[in-house]
Amino acid sequence: MEAPIGPRSCAGLGYAGNMHTGQTTRGTLLGRIRDGTDEVAAWRELDSTYREMLLRFCRSRGLQHADAEDVVQQVFARLVNGLKKFEYDRSRGRFRDYVYRCVRNAISDWVGCQSRTVAGVVGLCGVVKEEQEWVDSFHQEWVDHHFRCAIAEVEKTADPQSIEVLRATLAGRTVKEVAVTLGMQEMAVYKVQQRMRDRLRARIAEQVAEEDSE
């Protein structure tokens, strides 16, 4: 059973998360897909890493949930096939740009398919908008995606009080409110927030670097 789209655990996340050692244990996703040894695992990894981001992006483009699911399946198929066929070239753009192109094309194809076969699909007029808006929206989803993954990862190792502070902050509470609720000094809350910020930043740096190494 799955919940509707929303913040969820990034357990099983594709990012290896050990950049501090200067190594990655998994090798690049790309490398593994290309050598063809572990396609199913690669697919799963794509799914656990990018699924929610892509679903949210599709929904922001006006697709219904079920259609968004279909499109995301298509995107993964395109990614795996494209990576195999060396469509993706790191010297021509980053991995996330490639993902963007795949999802953009998948949505376009889906719109075309729907308008050919289904008369009068409601809400499609909202799908095709200005290209720049698409790009911005995707970028926003990308940022959100890294934040969500980093928060999930950081929460795994942080102490309970730090987690409480982080959650209260993300719920929109002021420092003062957090301090009162958790019975802490305001200064202490600030310090925890800074520590959490640094850890999130470090974690996101790892994730982005890893993504760029694809």
Partner: protein
Amino acid sequence: MSDPHPQPPPADQGRGPANDAILDERLTRDFGFDSDEWQARARRASRPGVPLGSMGQYELTLELGRGAQGVVYKAVQPGTGRVVALKRLGAGLPPAERDIEHMRREVRAATRLSHPNIVTVYATETIDGHAALVMEYVQGIAIDRWADEQRGKAEKSRAGTTPLLRCFLGVCDGVEHAHRRGVIHRDIKPSNVLVTADGTPKVLDFGIALLTDHLKAQTTATGFAGTPAYAAPEQVLGTRERDDTRCDVYALGAVLRRMVTGEELFGPGASMAQIVDVARSGTRIPASRSNPLLPRDLDWIILKAMAPEPDGRYQSVGALADDVRRFLEGRTIAAHPPTLRYQAGRFVARHTIACSLAGIAVAAVLTLSALSTMQAISLSKRGEELAGALQAERAATATAVVARVHAEEQQRVASAERDRQQAIAAYLLNVADGVAENSAGRLNVPVEDLGNWFEGAQGALDRVEDPVVRARLHLGLSEMRRASDDVKKARWHAQQALSLLPASGQERLRLRALIRLCANTNSQVRDGEAAIAFMREAGLSEEPIAVEAWRQLGTCYQRARRTDDALKALEDAASVATKLRLGKEVEAQIVSDEAVVLWRGGRVDEAMSAGERVLALLTPEESAGSEAARKAAIAMGEVSFAKGRYEDAERYFGSASAWSRASPGDGHIGTRNAMRWHARALHELGRYEEAAALYERLLQLVPPGHEAADVGVWWVRFRYGATLLGLGQTQEARRQLCMAVSKGLDRGYKPPSGELAQMVDRAERALQATNLRFTPELKKQLGDMDWLVDFVGGKLAAGAGQSPAEEPVEH
């Protein structure tokens, strides 16, 4: 519509490896880490997702699952507030109009299914161009997860597999219900079976596999949309044009395997190529390899359900469920080769307490050789008592003590011997009962295995003294002999049983023996009438066995060509069956007898309509394994054959043969009869190869050393010879024809019966038709049939003007 070169986001035009300065700048810019802006961005990222929205008229509340077939939501119908499960079937173009009608028909059939173990489909709709099913919402978990939990509990409570199997039987009931209504599932797997909190299994997605196959075929290269670990080999390989119910039997076997072992047949890394290889090679891995604690019988059940060839599987879900029930009751299962040792094991398992007592008794008997020692010990124990008595000069008491000790010892010995006999008898009666079941068509025992049973029961007869037990064993043996078509011995055993039974008491057994006696005679009306007279005298007229007695009398009359009397007897059988409400199988049996009587009495059209009544009474699934359906189909086939309508005949005989081969199996006399007729009809249609294959199988079925006793074998060889001539295989045809004649004469029918003379005559004409010449090579081939070579050769030579050999056959 794809745009091969959409503009990448401008923010991403910088690239490159993780250069610290660039990365730093990007993180600052994109994630707002240079100020408290990061908090706002992280907050945005953590917001709940967009609501699921609606689909058609339904408000989606939760995604329940997603797979190759599509997405399932929990949804609310706004007008009624009804909570439903809404399944939107997979992506792709809607199927073409010409394909869709077949699918619609099946989906419509599925929506009419109503059973506690099936998730009800309320409606099918098209929403935004996608097929969608509106179904009953069931709160439950997939049966594999449920089974894992149960196994965890069972380890603590030592409940074993029983709760799992009870739940599995519920699944079978649901699937069987659908099959009866013509709906095949085609994609049974754990995720399609939900188990509710009270342990009730509910099967999902009946009838939609066709639809999803179509959709999937558009998106996959193979067009195979099932779940490999649960799909039957013929589905994976696409070797059958149409799926039949047996692919569901396979899938149920795979589900049972998953439930009891906790392991998937194929690991997550298995490629399609590996799966296809396994399907092709028919490799089967016993479930006990994954769970060594699994009882062997369950292994057999799973292996049979998952047999690579559909013909090797249980032929219906009902048969699979019956075997699981038998297993739960500790009875012999059909899937297991019925060796004597196995039977004994099952018997002991069922009667643990009785057997342990018997075991103790037997052990006591085994030590009887040391009885004198025991007595000595016993006496010495009482010695003190004796000494005390003597000491007190109570001589009379002392004598009494000695007498009591002796009496006690004797009683102990007698009781131990009685227990021993009862234990042996009970075991063998269990064997005999098993065979009786076989003869009733409920056990699928190959005829070769009957040898073991004969041996066990015969051996037992030498050791058991109780006449009633001996009589029951004889009755079991009579059934065995009948099932393997040894009429004479069957009759002999029935006579023995009768002679052993006491004059009073045991009336039912006596009646059974009387019925068995006339079942094996050719035309003894008086035997049938004697059975009925006894039945009335013993007050058994209103019991189920009365139906058997009346049916038997009907058969006796029919053999004596007294058609009206036979029909009257069958009417009496029917009235008892109706009064006792014995069910439609019994009714079908009586009507099938009627069909045979009418056909033999020359009332052809009435026979056909009686046959049709039988087939109308039974569903196709019920016909498999039904003696009544087989008899009716054979009678209808014979009518068609006599009228020269060979195609109809072939169809009827083919059905009879297929049903009967499914159960009670090839070895049964009824099956062999059906196969003989089927082969004959095929021969008439010029389908010699198919006919030859059936004849070969029939000959294989004759147990070694049994041929001489079996008139049917000669006929098979004759027919086979004729078919081989049709195929142009004259050499083998001659061999079969010669063997037929040889076996006929070898049985000591001298002077031969009219039938034999006819056979010999036909064989000769056939041989002449092939221009048979007894060349030295052929003589060599025929080997031990020198006399025949001389005989037939002599006749042929006489025809050619040479000196004739002595004529041994009168025409």
